[in-house]
Symmetry: C2
Subunit: 486 residues, 2 copies
């Protein structure tokens, strides 16, 4: 018995040593989230240990959530493996300064996006995935077929809420994610910004107050500005999203015409609201008859392949106006978005019609056929794996090279990182110096109508994979360091 | 000498007889506008007269503007040949009731367009040319090439005012019609309605007053309604368009934020403002710093191939916001429109961006390449000839079959006829009874925020050429007759 025990102890030590070594390699970024580890056989040969020992070590790492086994494929580094503390944001609790404000960021935003989009600039500003990530060859094949078989539909304007094929597949997909929506509930738009714009116009008159996350999506803030609304910024938790406590407080204090929320991978924080919070949010607003505009643009882009139920899935009264598009998943240039406006169908349809009658058929049929081809799921898996890899690479580089005290978000989906710098650093100044060095990022000034986030920056990690990411982030870090010393 | 004189007199009588006979055939509609007359030789053989006599007869008709000679082709019936009196409209002079009004036609318009668009209805309501008139095979060929060579552009969203190829050719074409516009002055939109909407938002805040023709375009009235403006309806002359005297009076009485005008083939009257009036209109508004939104959607669709200079051609201060699209000429389903906003470029670009970022590339490149293919001019000639033929056929049928006292417009371009019935007939009632018989037309109720035109109807003559036009118009006439007797 003693002999057996000794042998067992020896084995325990051996597998733990392997596990520890692998953990170190993962923490050092040698193996990045999404990476496949060497095979059992390869590790066994390299370590000169039995396959059983290696197996045990890997199981150990699996139990603590650092790696995961994929059937018939092997072991992979998990995405949600960070042990870093959640970043701290100013006024995360109830804010005494939470009140409706006019938004005036457009002039600055316009300059900054123009600078980021210049031809010689490495664009880590605009939050669109690089076209390298898009399924161009498959779309080209489908487009040829669409031209061959649907030319009559393409040539003649349709006075409808959208192409039937597309509305069918969108409704089917929404049902799969838990929303009870039929094709006739869906209105196709020219992208998600148009969807949000039409929904806002359908539920709120100019001058009205719209609540949204803080920090919030620059596009939504500019939309609020362009439509003459006031923004009421509700603190957003880096992990769980919009603070429901803060929202409840705001609802008591102010007359709010609509709430605009990005439950999955909010921009810029990358937070993902838990389903219980989504349900609670929908129920809270339903009791007060306040419409909820849900921006689910990034809902499919979860790094681990999971898909949370949208708020729309908990909508019993038809008060949720669900918006999404294919701009981050299939092709931003096709400009296909959609709305499931619930009880606001008539109003939304009206404002969509008087925006531009209807969406062009070509894009709609191409998107419908891409979904129906069965290639979408595999494409999105590959897409998110590629984006996640860049997100974690950039996150790791920021942690290594930016000044001490810098905090970086830890999103589980989407393509954005939010970097909180020292209060002494001005994000806009950093942006200007970065542009001088040929790198475009978005300063925190564009994520709020307040100046709470002036020391933050937003980085799009789904940038062109052909650029030198490491050198770009090191350059940004050097600029930040110089600004801190100054 | 006497002998010679007698022979000359005989010849005069002979050619006049031929001329009279041909005039009768044209007036009876045997030869419709745009039709080719039999050749000199054929007429000579049939009439047993010399070619010189026939030639003289045709020259006679040419002098009075009834027919025209086309080099190397023969003689054709002219379009502008009607000797009918100009239709009389209520309050064509200065109207004491001319004042800003809220527009509330959407509910009714929505019902009516829905009824006209039902699958079993012959749609003479919506004012789009039937797809039979569109250059589908040529567009299909071009689309294949666009898919082959421009897929990268199609997939990725462009943060720009439009595709460079398209903006270049649009600017070139506008210069050809007398407008000094460069490619960088052009902003591409998703169709002309979006262009108008964006221009209105760029120049006027909700609650502002917009002046437009009366009777006016239902889409513009609905746009004014959806954006919360007031409409100030300026009497429109059936031939010369918006009354400048009435406009001047209105400008003295009311604060007008913008004037919306359709100088070429206004909808529904089909009037075409002379160039002198266009110049005067631009100058009048320039002195008062009031922007002019010019809807030139139908500018290319003149029946005789002439093309008047747009108001934009007379714009020295950049106060004209020129709007157009390819919906009536190339393909309504491509949803390509554009704006040359002059001094309002920045504001227009802003509202376009926050409508939907930018127009899809596919449609833009296809349209650019169709223009550049050199096929456009020939296509438009054929298109207008076909539409004009249907316009004159329907005009002739209305004159023959509608109750005495019915007046019908006599447009020289576009695709719309405006029918003024007895004051005892209600246009909406006629519409409802026509729908029961499977025919869709638009009642005058939708052409004004007043009830001045309730006894009028609008007919789209560019309807499907495969329908039985004669029987449809006879049915409408029978309904009108019954309503009159009742």
């Amino acid at each position: 018995m003693t002999k057996i025990s000794t042998r067992v102890i020896t084995k325990v030590l051996l597998y733990q040593q392997v596990a520890d070594d692998l953990r170190d390699l993962i923490n050092q970024g040698v193996y990045l989230p999404g990476d496949k580890l060497p095979s059992l056989r390869a590790l066994s040969v390299k370590r000169k240990m039995s396959i059983a020992t290696i197996q045990r070590a890997l199981e150990e790492l699996e139990i603590v959530g650092l790696i995961e086994a994929r059937p018939k494929s092997g072991y992979y580094v998990c995405f949600n493996n960070s042990t870093d503390a959640v970043i701290e944001l100013p006024n995360m609790g109830m804010s005494m300064t939470m009140k409706p404000k006019s938004v005036k960021i457009h002039e600055l935003a316009s300059q900054i996006f123009h600078q980021c989009g210049a031809p010689d600039v490495i664009n880590m500003g605009t939050s669109y995935p690089s076209s390298d990530f898009m399924p161009t060859p498959a779309l080209q094949k489908i487009s040829n077929q669409v031209i061959k078989h649907h030319m009559a539909d393409i040539v003649e304007v349709q006075f409808s809420a959208g192409n039937t094929l597309l509305r069918d597949v969108l409704a089917k997909r929404m049902n799969e994610s838990g929303c009870q929506v039929s094709a006739s509930d869906v209105i196709v738009t020219n992208g998600c910004l148009e969807a949000l714009s039409v929904c806002l116009r359908a539920v709120a008159k100019p001058g009205a107050t719209i609540a949204l996350e803080s920090p919030g999506f620059v596009g939504s803030l500019q939309l609020i500005e362009s439509l003459g609304y006031k923004a009421l910024e509700i603190p957003c938790h880096p992990v769980t999203g919009m603070s429901l406590e803060a929202l409840e407080l705001a609802l008591e204090q102010w007359q709010i015409s609509a709430v605009l929320v990005v439950p999955s991978y909010s921009n810029p924080l990358g937070s993902c609201m838990p389903e219980t919070n989504r349900k609670q949010l929908v129920e809270l607003l339903a009791t007060k008859d306040i419409p909820l505009i849900e921006d689910d643009l990034l809902g499919d882009l979860s790094f681990d392949g999971s898909r949370l139920k949208p708020c729309k899935a908990f909508d019993k009264k038809g008060m949720v106006l669900y918006c999404s598009s294919v701009s981050k998943t299939i092709a931003s240039g096709l400009r296909v978005g959609w709305i499931a406006p619930g009880a606001y169908y008539k109003e939304v349809s009206y404002f969509k019609t008087f925006t531009n009658i209807s969406a062009p058929q070509f894009s709609q049929i191409v998107v419908a056929q891409f979904y129906n081809s069965g290639k979408y799921e595999r494409h999105v898996r590959q897409l998110t794996a590629k984006i996640a890899k860049q997100v974690y690479q950039i996150q790791s580089l920021i942690r290594q090279h930016f000044p001490d005290g810098t905090q970086v978000s830890n999103p589980q989906g989407g393509c954005i990182l939010w970097v909180v710098l020292s209060q002494d650093i001005d994000g806009h100044e950093l942006h200007l110096k970065a542009i001088d060095m040929g790198i475009g990022i978005i300063p925190g000034q564009l994520s709020s109508a307040t100046n709470k986030f002036d020391h933050c920056i937003r980085i799009n990690c789904a940038c062109d994979p052909k650029i030198d990411i490491q050198s770009s982030i090191k350059t940004l870090a050097a600029i930040a360091t110089r600004l801190l010393i100054k």
